[in-house]
């Protein structure tokens, strides 16, 4: 391992600029002549728009333009779209509805986009927006996923009867029913996977501009995948062909999925900038983020587990209603289907699985991928079921899991996936030891002496990451391929620029990707620059989400470096005057058995560009190579998290006393960054379990529309985490990387709820387990809940 190569816990190169305030986020950028955009949003969850009067707004000082849905329609601006087709079990395509950039006669959630106001200054744009007069006919609204399909509910999208987007299923229904019929014990639970609001620290923002000289558009925007945004704006919205569109996602302050999607705001701005003739900047306020960023989760599930008399799992079935909001966001349809049900085997050998999912429209903000996207929901189902089944059948929860672990690989589950590598028992053993499981009884007794209730909860999660391969996701309905691209440009002095289609918005790619180059080319990471987030620089890329940048993005770089080394060896052969096949390259040095002379990597780079030692007929000058990488399988990170809580039954306050995480991410590029990803993921998962929950009232008003009511996790909500690793390298990419970005958020909720229910002695509590919820649950005795 070189000092800055793979496996080195080097400090993040990008932190100097972030910590000293030198980052360049979209809102830090200002363009000459820039005007400001403010959106007029619906105050109603569901209403017909009777009339929009913009005359007073247009007279407001500084106002340049007011656009409504009529203007969008007149210009034939394309609708927003959902890029993953889901087919219902009856063979019908999902009811995709229409998702206009600005409302066309109807608004469908609080925060829906009614008009775009552009003015010289932000204050003037706000004043003008206040002067836009909209008269509505308010309609009944539906917000609750559990009842939205009932007869008589408000109809959200005209073409989706009973608010049903699709009725999808996966697995073998007959085999599953047969297994349940023969079961010795069946565990059945109802679960709510609470709705979350992403709250990236940087709100979404956009600057749209049109160059009338070139006839081209440039959009600076807060995106996790600028090329996908460009493709969508060209192919679906019809703004301009791709070569006349440049999308730049500069420094981005957190995404967690919410910045994958193409939203109305940047789409409206890029269309409007040409009409206004000036660059237009829009930056969301936090209250807009609450209302109109795509939310996450929001499932209601009934799940069952069938056991035989020896405590072996026979089958699992689940029926889920997934709230998709008022419109289908870019990848909304895939999250509760193909990112969810294929993970319902967990780490366990389960012979039969059957899952039904109804996608449901409601008068709420669109719901789409949020850190983990479907896999946290699956893990919560599996790990709650397994925990409750162990308790009901009098088995130790850890040993029950061990008894049912998959132990040989590859393992084909009944729900699409073929797990390639893992050692689940090794993770469990290490976690039990680090968590001092043996000391639990004494700790419980000590807590009880102080009137406290202590509980322990396990979560043995698995996820499918490195979202790819293209052919597989295409067969499941994805509208795009999910490979990644890279280009490695070696400069004449031997420094290297890597252009990647991945996008860093907190992950530390400028460091970890440089570590790969450092390892392979034997140069310091200081000699490497990672270029990303600009469609005029990077040819194409699919972006960063689904823990894919290490497994897929870095693999593309790996293969581009392979090609650089092949070419560099040819150059070295000419310079060393030896046959090329005798040239060896190791630790940054070119050598040959045919000579005692050697060359460093920078020396060969210079020779490649001065081209004095070979003719043009012999070799092309220069040193620059590219690669596209499409893996042959998903990756399967896994692990065991153990949470220990102490509950104050007087107040319902839950304190997490201990957290142990043992994860198998395969190869670690930078263990420090990986540990940071685990910390952040656990914090978000604990947030879901204890604190966060988006609440809409029955009229579809968002009650938790600010940090006054929506509880984000704080440092004090977490103990010092014990994080450790095991490793079984991933066989489907050259580096053995599995991905680590989502694991904590996937593992944590079940671990927390399993710990709380252990402390309470019954299973009757839903997330978020707020003090109120825990206090109420603590009023119920275990026996009373069992009787109910």
């Amino acid at each position: 391992m070189s000092a800055t190569g793979i496996g080195a816990p080097v400090r993040r190169k990008e932190d100097q600029r972030f910590i000293t305030g030198k980052g360049q986020y979209t809102d830090d950028i200002n363009r000459p002549g820039q005007a400001y955009a403010v959106f007029v949003r619906s105050p109603h969850a569901h209403a017909s728009i009777k009339k929009i009067d913009t005359s007073a707004a247009m007279k407001s000082p500084g106002c340049l333009a007011v656009f409504t849905g009529e203007d969008i329609a007149r210009d034939k601006v394309g609708n927003l779209f959902c890029g993953w087709m889901i087919t219902s079990k009856d063979g019908s395509p999902m009811k995709a509805g229409t998702h206009p950039v600005l409302a066309q006669g109807k608004v469908r959630y609080v925060g829906d986009h009614v008009a775009l106001v552009v003015a010289d200054t932000l204050a003037q744009a706000k004043d003008a927006a206040e002067a836009v007069s909209v008269s509505y006919d308010v309609l009944p609204a539906v917000a609750d996923v559990a009842t939205a399909q009932n007869a008589g509910q408000a109809q959200v999208q005209a073409d989706a009867p009973n608010n049903t987007v699709y009725q999808w299923h996966l697995g073998d229904k007959a085999a599953t029913e047969a297994a349940f019929a023969n079961a010795r014990h069946v565990t059945k639970i109802d679960l709510v996977n609470n709705r979350l609001i992403p709250n990236a620290i940087e709100p979404r923002a956009a600057i749209a501009e049109y160059d009338s000289g070139q006839g081209s558009f440039t959009l600076h925007t807060t995106s996790q995948n600028p090329h996908v945004i460009r493709l969508a704006l060209a192919a679906f919205i019809g703004i301009a062909p791709e070569h006349k569109l440049r999308v730049i996602a500069p420094d981005v302050g957190g995404g967690f999925g919410s910045k994958i999607f193409l939203y109305a705001e940047e789409t409206a701005c890029i269309w409007a900038c040409k009409k206004v003739g000036r660059p237009i900047k829009w930056t969301a306020e936090r209250s807009e983020s609450f209302l109109a960023d795509a939310h996450g989760r929001d499932h209601a599930t009934t799940a069952e587990l069938a056991l035989d008399g020896d405590g072996k799992i026979l089958a699992l079935r689940a029926k889920t209603k997934a709230n998709l909001g008022a419109y289908l966001s870019t990848f909304a349809s895939s999250v509760p289907t193909y990112l969810y049900a294929p993970l319902l085997s967990g780490q366990y050998a389960i012979p039969a699985i059957y899952c039904e999912v109804d996608g449901v429209y409601t008068n709420t903000a669109p719901v789409d991928a949020y850190r983990g996207a479907g896999r946290p929901e699956a893990t919560f189902v599996v790990e709650r079921l397994v925990e409750v089944a162990a308790r009901q059948t009098g088995q130790d929860p850890a040993e029950f899991r061990r008894k049912n672990f998959i132990t040989s690989f590859p393992h084909a589950t009944p729900v699409i996936m073929t797990y390639d590598a893992g050692d689940y028992g090794a993770c469990l053993n290490k976690a039990l030891e680090l968590a001092d499981h043996k000391g639990l009884a004494a700790r419980k007794a000590e807590s009880a002496k102080r009137g406290m209730k202590r509980g322990i909860g396990f979560s043995a999660y698995i996820e499918a990451c490195g979202i790819a391969p293209s052919q597989a996701v295409g067969s499941l309905g994805a509208g795009v391929g999910l490979w990644e691209s890279a280009e490695v440009r070696v400069n004449p002095t031997g420094s290297v620029e890597v252009l990647t289609g991945s996008h860093s918005h907190g992950q530390g790619h400028e460091t970890t990707f440089a570590q790969l180059v450092s390892q392979r080319l034997g140069i310091s990471i200081d000699q490497v620059t990672i270029v990303h987030g600009d469609t005029d620089k990077v040819q194409f890329g699919m972006g960063t989400y689904g823990s894919r940048s290490g497994a897929v993005g870095m693999s593309a770089i790996y293969y581009a470096i392979d090609k650089v080394i092949v070419k560099a060896k040819k150059v070295a052969g000419f310079v060393l005057e030896v046959p090329e096949p005798t040239v060896d390259f190791k630790d940054g040095i070119f050598s040959s058995t045919a000579t005692n002379k050697t060359l460093t990597f920078p020396e060969v780079a210079l020779q490649a560009y001065i081209a004095h030692k070979f003719t043009g007929a012999q070799l092309e000058p220069g040193l620059k190579e590219g690669a596209f990488f499409d893996p042959t399988n998903f990756t399967f990170p896994s692990g065991v998290h153990i949470c220990e809580v102490e509950i104050d039954p007087e107040t319902g306050a839950t304190r997490i006393d201990r957290w142990t995480a043992v994860d198998d991410f395969g190869t670690l590029v930078n263990p420090m960054i990986v540990e940071g990803q685990v910390h952040g993921g656990v914090a978000q998962g604990v947030g879901q379990a204890l604190l966060e929950g988006a609440v809409y009232d029955k009229n579809g008003q968002l009650v938790t529309a600010s940090f006054m009511d929506y509880t984000m996790p704080r440092a004090g909500d977490l103990p010092s985490l014990k994080v450790a690793m095991t490793s079984t390298p991933c066989p489907s990419n050259p580096l053995g990387i599995k991905g680590c970005g989502e694991a904590g958020a996937i593992a944590a909720p079940a671990a927390v709820v399993n710990a709380i229910t252990d402390a309470l002695g019954h299973e009757d509590i839903a997330m978020p387990a707020t003090p109120l919820a825990v206090w109420r649950a603590a009023q119920k005795s275990p026996a009373r809940v069992a009787a109910e």
Binding site: A123, D709, Y710, T770, W775
Partner: protein, 265 residues
């Protein structure tokens, strides 16, 4: 935020003159309620009178048998003040659990008291301690000052100058924070001053901060947490919201009252 006139007087008298001249002016102390409200365009005062340069509103002193705190003393100053810590240590603790460090460095005792947020911490402390709120026009007993949700006895043009707190023999405060906002979901202050027991509750009552007379009677009899076991609080008078329903708040009043007594020693 809408446009407004900005004034920064150097004295209470100048501030009062500005208030008198601008009927729609608002006083700015720490700004932690007013400024967010203005940014959201829910408030649009024509003029702001910033009290931050009025030196006579600063300062914390012990005067005779009372602690006197200038209206513009920040929460952080009260929390860290050696005068407060020796005179009424529990009051320094109250200031130390308001909001977060940013809030404590800007927010002021005068601003908090004048705003009388029903979930603020100071009103409970002042009511339990039997404080006197001094303005540029008069002195008002805490019992007469807090008039319900965001309502006080302050009249137009009246500026709080200082808070005077008779030294108690015992004082304690226990707060169960709202998980999101960190305001008090329920906060209970208990004080024993001149042989009298006073208990004030914030965060819980539909009509803002209130004295819990049943708890006071129990503590007058015997100053101990145990006498508050089973303390009855009428849930019909409690606030209910997504964070805490009325029954939970009524229950927490008892728990926090016992913990406040324990904290008072």
């Amino acid at each position: 935020m809408h446009a407004f006139e900005y004034h920064r007087p150097q004295s209470v008298a100048d501030a009062a003159r500005l208030l008198a001249a601008n009927k729609e002016a608002k006083l700015l102390a720490g700004g932690h309620t007013l400024l967010p409200t203005m940014k959201l365009r829910l408030a649009a005062p024509k003029a702001i009178v910033d009290l931050s340069r009025v030196a006579e509103l600063k300062g914390i002193d012990k005067k005779g048998n009372a602690l006197v705190i200038g209206a513009m003393a920040t929460h952080a100053e009260v929390a860290d003040s050696s005068v407060v810590r020796s005179a009424i240590p529990g009051l320094a603790a109250v200031a130390g659990v308001i909001g977060d460090p940013h809030v404590r460095n800007r927010g002021t005792i005068g601003g908090s008291v004048a705003n009388n947020d029903p979930a603020a911490d100071y009103p409970a402390a002042l009511l339990a301690l039997g404080a006197t709120i001094a303005t540029n026009k008069r002195e008002i007993k805490a019992d007469d000052f807090f008039k319900g949700l965001f309502a006080t006895a302050l009249q137009d043009g009246e500026i709080i100058t200082r808070i005077s707190l008779p030294l108690p023999t015992k004082f304690g405060y226990a707060k169960f924070p709202n998980p999101a906002s960190r305001y008090a979901l329920v906060g209970v202050a208990v004080a024993q001053t001149g042989g009298q027991a006073r208990v004030a509750v914030t965060g819980a009552g539909q009509n803002g901060v209130f004295r819990h007379t049943r708890a006071e009677a129990a503590l007058a009899n015997s100053w101990s947490a145990q006498v508050l076991n089973g303390l009855a609080t009428d849930a019909n008078l409690m606030i209910g919201d997504i964070h805490a329903d009325a029954a939970y708040r009524a229950h927490l009043v008892g728990v926090m009252a016992r913990r406040a007594v324990a904290a008072a020693g």
